[in-house]
C-alpha cells in the first residue's frame, strides 16, 4: 500500500497541475484576455470618455446634454426616438412579409413555388450598402421606376419615390424579412402534422387549430426573430445614410465624430450599446426557455395544392412579380455596372454602356487596391476568428468552469453592437498604446480594420463550431482516449476533422461579412487601407456609378458563391453528425 502511495506522490508537477480543478482557468485565460481586451475594454473606454471630462473629473453632463440639450436642440432625443420607431415598424413589416412567405411556401403548392423558395433568400446575398444602393437606384427620387412612371404619364414631377424614414423601413423590410422567413419556415417544417390531426380528432375546427395549436407553437421563433430584427434595425447605418435620415442613433454618432464632438459620440455610443446589450440579454434569456420544435422525427410536410384555376392563374402572376421584385436589386446593380460613368443623369436607365469597369477592377492598380485590401483584411480577421472560435467552442461545450453564461454573452456582445459602436469603441481603446495592442499605436494603421472585422465576426465561427461540437457525443472523444490517444492526438485526428465542415462554413460566412463590411470601416479606414465598400461609397459620391456597381457585382458574386458552398457543407455535416 505504502509503495503505491509513493507512486502517486512521484507524479510530475505538470501532471498534478493538469489535474487541479483550477487548471481549466489557465486553459481559458487566452480567451478571457481576448474578450477582455477587444470587447470589454473598448466598451469601458468609450463609457469612460462619456463620463469623464478632459480635466479628469466625473460628470454626467454629456448625458444631460443628450436628453436636455442646452442649445434647445432635440436632435439626440429625436434620433433615439426615430431609431426605436424605425426598428419597431421594421419588426412588424418584416414579420408580416417573412411569416406570410413562410406559410405560402411551406404549406401551399402553386406554380412558381420552387423558384420563389430559392429566390426568397436573395436579400441575404446583398451586402448592406449594396441593398440600400439598389433600392435608391430603383425607387429613389431619381430612381428608375419613379422616372419611368413620370415618362409614361408625362408628369412634371416623379409620382412617387422612396425617401426618408419610409425608405429606410422598406429597405429594412427587404433585407431583414429573411430572418423571420427562415425561423418561421423552420418552425412550420418542425410542426408535426399529427398535432393538427390530433386537434381535429378532438373536434377542433380550423380556426381553433390555428389560434390554439399552430400560432402558439410558432411564438418562440417569432419572438426570437423580432428581437433580432429590432437589434439589427437599431444598428442599421447604410439605409439611413442612403436615404438621408440624419436623425438616427448611428447617424448621430457618425456626425458627432466627424464634427469632432468625441465626447458626445461616446455618449451616444454608450446609450446605443446599452439598448443593444439589453436586447441581447433578453434574447438569450428567451432562447433558454422551452421551445417546441422537433419533438418528433421524420415529419412529412403536406402542402395544400392550389386547384382553383382562377387562383392558380393569380398565384402564377404574383409569383412572377415576386421573382422580378426579388431579382431587381441585383439586376439593377448589374445593369449600372456596365454604364459609362457620369453619363446617367436624367434618363430612365443609362444609355451608354461599357465593359471598361470590369477590366479596370483587375488591371488598374488604383481600382484593384480596395479589393486587395478587403481580401487581406478579411482573411486576417477570419484566421483570428477560426482560432478563437474553435478554442472558445471547445471550452464552452467540453470544459467545465464557472462563468460560462457570462462568457457566452460576452462572445455575443460584438454581434449585438452596431458596427458604428464597435468602431467608436476601438478608437477609444486603441488611440494610445496599451497592453492589448501590445504597446503599439493601432488607430490609423492597417491593423485597426482587421481587428474591427475580427470583433464584429467574433460569434460566427464560434457558433458553428459550438453547434457541431454539441452534436458530437463526448463519448467519441472518450473512445479515442480509451484507445490510448492523448488529448491532442484525439483533438487532431477525431474532433477537428469532425468539426471541419462546420468550421469551414462559419469561416466562409465570416469572410463574406468582412468582405462586405462598411459600417465600421467608414470610421476607421485611411487612404491606404480603404476597403471595397468604402470605395463604393466614394465612387458614388463622385458620381462614378458604373465603377461603384462593378465593385458591388463582385461582392455579390463572392457572397453567392460562398453561401452556396457553405450551404452544401452544412447539409453534408448534418447527415454525418446525426449518425
Amino acid at each position: 500500500m505504502s509503495q503505491n502511495t509513493s507512486a502517486t506522490v512521484k507524479e510530475p508537477l505538470w501532471t498534478r497541475l493538469t489535474q487541479s480543478k483550477y487548471f481549466v482557468y489557465i486553459l481559458i485565460s487566452p480567451l478571457i484576455f481576448i474578450l477582455l481586451g477587444y470587447v470589454i475594454y473598448p466598451l469601458y473606454k468609450t463609457f469612460v470618455q462619456s463620463v469623464v471630462k478632459t480635466d479628469g473629473t466625473f460628470s454626467l453632463s454629456n448625458y444631460i446634454e443628450f436628453f436636455f440639450s442646452s442649445t434647445g436642440s432635440t436632435a439626440n432625443v429625436e434620433a433615439l426616438w426615430n431609431s426605436v420607431y424605425i426598428s419597431v415598424i421594421s419588426v412588424i413589416s418584416c414579420a408580416i412579409v417573412g411569416v406570410t412567405m413562410a406559410f405560402l411556401l411551406e404549406r401551399y403548392e402553386f406554380p412558381g413555388r420552387r423558384i420563389l423558395s430559392v429566390l426568397v433568400l436573395v436579400p441575404m446575398a446583398l451586402p448592406p450598402l449594396i441593398g440600400s444602393l439598389s433600392f435608391s437606384f430603383l425607387y429613389g427620387e431619381s430612381g428608375i421606376f419613379p422616372r419611368l412612371f413620370q415618362a409614361i404619364f408625362h408628369l412634371d414631377k416623379v409620382p412617387f419615390s422612396l425617401s426618408g424614414i419610409w425608405g429606410v423601413i422598406i429597405v429594412h423590410t427587404f433585407t431583414m424579412y429573411t430572418y423571420f422567413y427562415l425561423s418561421a419556415s423552420a418552425a412550420i417544417r418542425g410542426l408535426d402534422p399529427s398535432l393538427e390531426e390530433a386537434a381535429t380528432s378532438l373536434g377542433a375546427g380550423r380556426f381553433r387549430i390555428w389560434t390554439k395549436v399552430i400560432l402558439p407553437m410558432l411564438t418562440p421563433a417569432m419572438v426570437a426573430s423580432s428581437l433580432l430584427v429590432f437589434m439589427i434595425s437599431m444598428a442599421s447605418y447604410t439605409a439611413p445614410l442612403m436615404f438621408g435620415v440624419e436623425r438616427t442613433m448611428t447617424m448621430q454618432i457618425y456626425l458627432s465624430r466627424t464634427n469632432g464632438n468625441l465626447d458626445m459620440a461616446a455618449t451616444q455610443s454608450t446609450i446605443l450599446s446599452i439598448v443593444s446589450i439589453t436586447f441581447l440579454i433578453i434574447m438569450k434569456w428567451y432562447q433558454n426557455r422551452r421551445n417546441y420544435q422537433n419533438q418528433s422525427k421524420g415529419i412529412g410536410v403536406h402542402r395544400t395544392e392550389v386547384r382553383n384555376p382562377f387562383v392558380k392563374y393569380i398565384s402564377m402572376i404574383l409569383s412572377f412579380l415576386g421573382v422580378i421584385f426579388l431579382l431587381l436589386p441585383i439586376l439593377v446593380i448589374l445593369l449600372i455596372s456596365f454604364s459609362v460613368d457620369g453619363r446617367w443623369t436624367v434618363q430612365i436607365i443609362p444609355t451608354e454602356y461599357t465593359l471598361q469597369h470590369y477590366v479596370d477592377l483587375f488591371t488598374d492598380t488604383r481600382t484593384w487596391a480596395p479589393i486587395w485590401n478587403s481580401i487581406k483584411m478579411s482573411t486576417i480577421a477570419v484566421i483570428g476568428n477560426i482560432i478563437f472560435g474553435v478554442a472558445c467552442a471547445y471550452a464552452m461545450v467540453r470544459l467545465n468552469f464557472k462563468g460560462k453564461t457570462l462568457m457566452d454573452i460576452l462572445i455575443m456582445v460584438p454581434w449585438a453592437l452596431p458596427g458604428t459602436v464597435v468602431a467608436v469603441n476601438l478608437i477609444a481603446a486603441f488611440s494610445t498604446p496599451n497592453v492589448f495592442s501590445f504597446n503599439q499605436m493601432i488607430v490609423g494603421t492597417f491593423w485597426i480594420l482587421p481587428l474591427a472585422y475580427f470583433v464584429r465576426q467574433l460569434p460566427l465561427v464560434f457558433r458553428n463550431a459550438a453547434a457541431s461540437l454539441m452534436q458530437m457525443d463526448s463519448s467519441i472523444e472518450e473512445g479515442a482516449l480509451s484507445l490510448g490517444a492523448s488529448w491532442w492526438y484525439s483533438f487532431r485526428r477525431v474532433v477537428l476533422p469532425m468539426m471541419m465542415p462546420a468550421i469551414f462554413a462559419g469561416t466562409l460566412l465570416a469572410f463574406i461579412q468582412g468582405f462586405g463590411e462598411f459600417v465600421a470601416s467608414i470610421l476607421i479606414y485611411n487612404v491606404d487601407t480603404m476597403p471595397i465598400s468604402v470605395a463604393i461609397w466614394q465612387k458614388l459620391y463622385a458620381f462614378k456609378f458604373g465603377t461603384a456597381c462593378a465593385y458591388g457585382v463582385l461582392q455579390i458574386l463572392v457572397i453567392i458563391i460562398f453561401l452556396l458552398i457553405s450551404e452544401k457543407l452544412n447539409r453534408g455535416s448534418n447527415t454525418t453528425a446525426t449518425m
Partner: protein, 358 residues
Amino acid sequence: MKSVKLDQVSKRFGKARGVENINIHIKSGEFFTFLGPSGCGKTTTLRMIAGFYYPTEGKIFFDDRDVTLLKPNKRNIGMVFQNYALFPHMTVSENIAFGLEVRKLPKAVIKEKVERAQKLVHLDGYGSRKITELSGGQQQRVALARALVIEPDILLLDEPLSNLDAKLREETRVEIKRLQVELGITTIYVTHDQHEAMALSDRIMVMNEGKVQQIGTPQEIYNRPVNHFVASFIGETNILPAVVKEVSGESVVLEMDTGIRLIALKKNCAPGMELHSGKKVLLSIRPEIIELGEGKNSFEGEIILTEFSGVSINYLVKVGNHDVSVMIINTGSNISQRGDKITLHVPENGIYILEQEV
C-alpha cells in the same frame, strides 16, 4: 490479462453522492457484471475504472499497480460505449486501426492486425465501408473489434447491447461471450438487464442508489438474494410480509397477515439473519415455484387476471389482501378464468426469508 481491484472507492458529484464505498476484486480473465437500475452508479464505477472520472476517495489497482489517477489513455483498456462512439469520418478499418496508430505500430503490422480483428467479428470485406453505411449490429461489432485489436488488459463494456433490437441482442450476446471465453480477457460489463447479466457473467455486482447490494455468481444472486431489492430486481418474485411463529430444528413456521401458515426451511434465509419467534420478516416466493392444487403449505385465492404466454400461464391471484403472481408451465390443461377460486401450494424449499427493512 490483469485483475482489477477497487479499494473503498467513492465518487461524489458536488454534494450529490455518485457511488459509495465500493470494494471489489475482479479476477484475471473473469467476466464481471455491474447490474442495477439506471442511476445506480454502475456507469460511474465503470468510468472510474476507465479513467474518465477520478474517485473522490479510495484507490483502483490493475494487478498491483495503482492506477487511481492514471490518465485513460495510459491504462491500456478496451472500451465499448453504449452508442459505440465510432468515428464517423473514418472507415471501418480506419476506426479499428486508430488505437494501433496511436501505438505507432509499423504499417504492415497494423494492416495485418486490423484484418484479423475484422475476421474475428465477421466483418471481413467491410474495411472500406463508411460507418454510416453499417447497420446497428455491424457498428456494434466494429466497436468491439476496435476495442479488442489493441490487446487491452481489460475490456469494458457499457450497455453495449441496449441499442440493438431484441433478436440481434441475443446473437451479439452470444458473440461477446464467445470472444471473451476465447480470448480469456478480463471483462467488466455494465447493464440494467438482468437476463443479460445472468447469461454472461461469472459474477455479478448488484447496485442500487450508489451502493453495492450483493456480489456473487448468478445462481447465488438469484437463489440467495441478500435483501428485498436484490430479490425483486433479479427475476420476478412475490414479496409477502410474515411473522416467525416457531423455529424448530431445520424448519421455521411463518404466519402471514391473512392467517395462512407456511412452513419453510431455516437455511433459506438471507445471510447473517437471526430467526426467532415473533420476528417480522419478508417472504420472497418466485411465481414459478408455486404449484397448483393441494399440498404442503397450501392456500386459496381468487383469480383476478389470466395471461397466456404460450410457454406458461400467468395468474394474478388475490390471497387475502395481497396480489400473488403465479406461473404455471403450459401442459395443455385447462386454464382458469377471472373470478375462479383456485388452490395453490408452495414447496417448503421455495420460500426464501428476508429481513424486513425499515
